[in-house]
Amino acid sequence: MATIVTVTSGKGGVGKTTSSAAIAAGLAQAGHRTVVIDFDVGLRNLDLIMGVERRVVFDFVSVIAGEATLNQALIQDKRLENLSILAASQTKDKDALTEEGVGQVLDQLAEMGFEYIVCDSPAGIERGATMALHFADHAVIVTNPEVSSVRDSDRILGILQSKSKRAKEGGKVHEHLLITRYDPARVENGEMLSKEDVCDILAVKLIGVIPESKSVLKASNTGVPVILDDDADAGLAYSDAVARFLGEDRPMRFVTPKKQGLFSRILGGGD
């Protein structure tokens, strides 16, 4: 039995792909056979973030269309032997993702022995996104501490609770809140919703808080999931989140402002 983990948010640009890459790499690092699938048909990007863009020959849609086998389309990560990537199509349109086709690919991945199938959802609530939500066992709701992102996350929660396969069968998708691009200094100044605020509003269990970090751009520049950067605060925060997902109890890090001298504080250096 494979566990399907969908990384979703509603709103675009909040960090779903960054988080999908990090979570998949983290699960693989922890010894679990993992595959990460890009559901953003037409706008693939996971391949770039994973650093495999030059190795994509076949993709998710070509497998569904029967033009390639799953084995031909899966890209084995060169850093982590437990990790594979299934890219999205760049050309086909998103209607290519049929419920039957997606279901068959997921079943086949489970048969191949993958323990975790991480689905990187596109933004919005159209086909790619609803397909990724439909099959979820777990949903990681990626939210920025910002009004439109929080509102969209709540809409996604509504869809999970009414339209997902599990919900329709009378069950429940396990929900996890992942707050990203968190800036503790701005939270302290009252300029940004705090993690407690977001948790209060959405009423979902917090699995991690990823700080706003320069290391994320560096990681995407080089095509290395940020979780593999041991010096990066964001990478360490993702490691903690994955450990919590796997049942470990870890305190939150990087949620208070970096210490500053009294002098720079008086001069207003808090930004």
């Binding site: 009414s162 940004m192 705090s194 605020d197 209060d200 504080r265 207003g268």
Partner: protein, 83 residues
């Protein structure tokens, strides 16, 4: 400015405003989505009937379903224009 900020702790922050707005909006949106599927259609039909008699704006008719014990209460609010 930073010094000033230290002493103005009582002023409502923008984050607090965001939280308050979100809580109101989301509780409203959750109510709508937990309602029966026909609620939006019912609202549209009622609006059409009201409009036959009074010129009201679309957003001046609101409808919600509340549960009170074992009964459901359908609440209809129509804001009529001044004249």
């Amino acid at each position: 400015m930073a010094l000033f900020g230290l002493f103005s702790g009582k002023k409502k922050t923008s984050a607090a405003a965001a939280k308050e707005r979100l809580q109101i909006l989301i509780s409203h949106e959750r109510q709508n989505r937990n309602g029966p599927d026909f609620l939006p259609d019912l609202q549209r039909d009622i609006l059409a009937v009201v409009k036959k008699y009074v010129a009201v704006r679309d957003d001046h008719v609101s409808i919600r379903l509340d549960r009170a014990g074992d009964a459901s209460v359908l609440e209809l609010n129509v804001t009529l224009p001044e004249n």
